[in-house]
């Protein structure tokens, strides 16, 4: 199976916003080459990205992370192509579809920062289209959300966060949140407990399917 196809499948499932998607309806969602489609799905299940049940397939935690990453790459690339280079939105989206599989997370982060600096307001306005959520502090997110780290405030004080993998660009899950905003997050498969004053310094974007 091709690597692009499997990423497209994950992204498509995420975009439906549904918990479980029928395999048959997936075929229509993924544009382009559908050869070996079934094989790709089986392979994704084997690798732990998808759960398969009678009702259809659903994203595992790992799958949801991967999908969110790809979707984000897609959104940032489309913004760049339309806003900076002035491409037609349709073409831009198609081209973004091709590039999103090869571009590194680091480049995407830089591109994103670049877009933000160049035109913050317009970029915000674009938020709906690029599915970008506003940047908020970790303490404001509800339990169970999948989050994308954008920035650590006063990171010098919390440099252990970097060592644990809480860095801009990383996807984390908010496992638990107590009434006082003490949280448990999952980073790189490890559960980390944070005091409220640490949590509020971590700025994130939500990337859960709506």
């Amino acid at each position: 199976m091709t690597f692009e196809l499997s990423e497209d499948i994950l992204e498509a499932i995420l975009n439906t916003g549904k918990e479980t998607v029928k395999v048959s309806s997936l075929g229509n969602l993924v544009s382009g080459d559908t050869d070996g489609f079934g094989k790709a799905v089986t392979c994704l299940v084997e690798k732990g990205y998808l759960n398969e049940s009678v009702a259809g397939v659903s994203l595992t935690e790992k799958g949801a992370k991967k999908a969110a990453q790809v979707a984000r790459k897609h959104a940032v690339l489309t913004s760049f192509l339309t806003e900076v280079l002035g491409n037609e939105p349709d073409n831009a989206s198609k081209e973004a579809c091709l590039m999103e599989h090869t571009i590194s997370s680091e480049t995407i982060e830089k591109l994103d920062t670049f877009l933000e600096e160049r035109n913050p307001t317009e970029h915000e306005g674009h938020a709906e289209l690029t599915k970008r959520s506003p940047i908020i502090s970790l303490s404001e997110c509800p339990e169970g959300s999948l989050l994308h780290v954008s920035m650590i405030k006063c990171f010098a004080k919390h440099s252990r966060l970097i060592d644990l993998g809480v860095i801009p660009g990383e996807l984390i899950t908010l496992r638990r949140k107590l009434a006082n905003n003490a949280v448990v997050i999952t980073v790189k498969g490890c559960d980390i407990a944070l005091s409220p004053e640490v949590a509020e310094n971590i700025m994130v974007e939500r990337c859960n399917p709506r």
Binding site: K47, S105, F155, D163, L164, P168, A179, V184, C190, D191
Partner: protein, 623 residues
């Protein structure tokens, strides 16, 4: 002799591997930060030997905490021949971050992939051959709890060709250029250049190297809007991620019940936390009381009574009686409580529950000027204050370490539990016993609130990795409890025997009566206690449970109700629990937080204990 050193993230099993290889017994527990110091031992394998060193677990060698600094200096300036990098196979990606940093030191290394059992049940299949090729050093897959493949580590250390890691992580090109120029200009290694860029001090880096690195770092920061430390960290994480993706595959697994949905929620997590603590105390009281009665009963019928029936001359009778009484109070009373308590603490440590409790307690601990992690020394202090005070090193600031040490000193350790349960629970009742805990907890809380206001220093929040929940392995739990009780048997028992005999002789020659006639009026006036009880209290400074044992010895019976009233017993126990930490605690306090604070704590607790005792005496007199 060759020297190997164990390095890795916290709670990956370094100390367990160390114990298995050396046959020594360092602490092994399921919470991050178990090991706080350096410990070395000799491994004998076949005919050959080598030395191995256990270090505290760390997340990064460029970190700023005390442990990280200690390990960094040890690695860079130490004379070890081989680095044994221990990794948790289940969390390979996070563990690779540290491994990459170690690899850059370009010292002979070997990778130990421990916890293969955990990785397997999580469905992670790791291609260790591929990992070995990537790093250029061998990989040994182990399960330390089963002792599996540990001999291969010994075999490799003793072998002839040790390989040096050859992996080169890719850094941002500005970082790489900066590191290159620092290397060339100052003639330092790449690893040192990166340390300098990250603004990490090291004894081999001179101030002018640091200064020029600082200038370059500022330049890079301006361009990237990110400090070199962040960029280098992110680059390493990316490398770790791509290596992990290349060498792991996932097998489907059955989903297991996740207890965390109960343990880390306010409800039912907090009730569970409170019930666990009360439950442990109650079981110790009940079972300990039962064991005490049985053992004392047996010893009275089969040792004490036959001995006195011999009708020896009065001097041998006194000395022999003193020995028997010491044995009875040491083995019969103290031992059951101490052993039970350590058993429960060991179970608690090995389950991984302590980190959950710490998370839930974070909020409450804020009132005491501490954070969640601060709960761990406080819980350990129920066992023994000495290791609990040492474990305060896992706290991030000196401020928190001081506050926690003071509170640990105040909380009742297992020796004080012996006093409370042996005197109050046995002769007055459970309610009275719990009320002593209640008084102590209220005092500790009030003291914490005050200390959090007056102790200077900065505050950092909690960043604590939750340990894996595990079923404790009975063999290890018993071994650990036994190791701790051994200390009691080998140090406390001889001390008790000697002082019992000396006291017996003093009594025989009338010295005790002299001292008591002098102390009696004061003791009665202030605490309402007879002179011999006050003398017993003084013995409590040597070891807390000795106050109780000496009371029995000086009273000449283990049935304390016959010699003191309930009110007197209560005052005795409360004063003993509060006043002056035992000498070992004072010693460790001086070492960990300094002579002046230690002296302050001692004077403070002395005043507190005596004045509360006096207050209670007045209340009892009025009532």
């Amino acid at each position: 002799m060759k020297k190997a050193v164990l390095i890795g993230n916290p709670s990956v099993g370094k100390s367990l591997i160390f114990n298995n290889l050396t046959g020594l017994g360092v602490e092994v527990s399921n919470y991050p930060g178990t090991t706080v110091g350096i410990m070395s031992g000799i491994v004998r394998y076949g005919e050959a030997e080598f030395s191995i060193t256990d270090l505290p677990g760390i997340y990064s060698i460029s970190g700023k905490s005390d442990e990280e600094r200690l390990v960094r200096e040890y690695l860079v300036t130490g004379d070890s021949d081989l680095i044994v990098a221990v990794l948790d196979a289940k969390h390979l990606e996070r563990n690779l971050y540290l491994l990459l940093q170690i690899a850059e030191l370009r010292k002979p290394s070997v990778i130990v992939l421990n916890m293969m059992d955990d990785a397997k049940s999580a469905g992670k299949i790791i291609d260790s051959a591929a990992l070995s090729v990537k790093f250029g050093v061998p990989v040994i897959e182990t399960i330390a709890t089963e002792g599996k493949n540990l001999e291969k580590i010994a075999e490799y250390v003793l072998g002839d060709n040790l390989s040096i890691p050859k992996i080169i992580p890719r850094y941002d090109h500005h970082i790489e250029a900066a590191a290159k120029s620092l290397q060339k200009y100052h003639n330092i290694s790449e690893a040192e250049a990166l340390f300098a860029l990250e603004n990490v001090t090291l004894s081999t880096l001179s101030p002018d190297i640091m200064e020029s690195a600082l200038v370059i770092a500022a330049e890079i920061e301006k361009r990237h809007m990110m400090s070199p430390q962040q960029i280098i960290g992110a680059n390493r994480h990316n490398t770790a991620k791509s290596i992990t993706d290349d060498v792991t595959s996932i097998a489907p697994v059955r989903k297991r019940r996740n207890l965390d949905s109960l343990l880390t929620k306010s409800f039912p997590g907090i009730p569970i936390l409170i019930l666990t603590m009360i439950g442990i105390l109650a079981v110790v009281f009940v079972v300990g009381g039962f064991l005490e009665e049985t053992i004392i009963g047996l010893m009275t019928t089969y040792i004490s009574e036959p001995f006195h029936a011999l009708g020896l001359a009065s001097l041998p009778d006194t000395v022999g009686g003193a020995v028997i009484l010491a044995l009875m109070s040491g083995l019969g009373i103290a031992f059951p409580y101490v052993f039970l308590f350590y058993l429960f603490i060991s179970i608690l440590e090995d389950t991984g529950y302590l980190t959950r409790a710490a998370f839930l307690a974070d909020r409450g601990m804020h009132h005491l000027g501490l954070h969640g992690q601060g709960l761990i020394p406080l819980v350990l202090s129920f066992g023994c204050s000495v290791p609990a005070i040492m474990s305060t090193r896992l706290l991030p600031t000196r401020r928190e370490r001081i506050i926690a040490s003071v509170l640990v000193t105040m909380l009742p350790c297992s020796a004080r539990t012996v006093v409370i349960s042996g005197i109050v629970a046995s002769f007055i009742g459970f309610g009275a016993a719990f009320s002593i805990y209640g008084i102590v907890f209220m005092l500790v809380f009030a003291l914490g609130v005050v200390l959090s206001k007056i102790t200077p220093g900065e505050q950092y929040g909690m960043i604590l990795e939750m340990s894996e929940l595990r079923k404790p392995i009975p063999k290890y739990v018993f071994r650990k409890a036994w190791m701790r009780v051994k200390e009691f048997l080998y140090i406390a028992m001889p001390l008790l025997l000697i002082s019992s005999v000396i006291l017996g002789l003093f009594e025989y020659f009338g010295l005790v009566t002299m001292f008591e006639s002098f102390i009696d009026p004061i003791s009665y006036a202030v605490l309402g206690l007879p002179g011999f009880a006050f003398t017993a209290l003084l013995f409590g400074i040597l070891r807390k449970e000795m106050a109780f044992e000496t009371l029995a010895i000086m009273g000449g019976t283990t049935d304390l109700a016959a010699i003191l009233s309930s009110g007197q017993l209560y005052i005795f126990a409360l004063v003993c629990v509060l006043f002056v930490p035992c000498i070992s605690t004072v010693a460790v306090l001086m070492k960990e937080i300094g002579v002046k604070p230690a002296a302050l704590i001692t004077v403070f607790t002395l005043t507190l204990g005596i004045s509360l005792g006096a207050l209670l005496n007045i209340i009892f007199m009025i009532v």
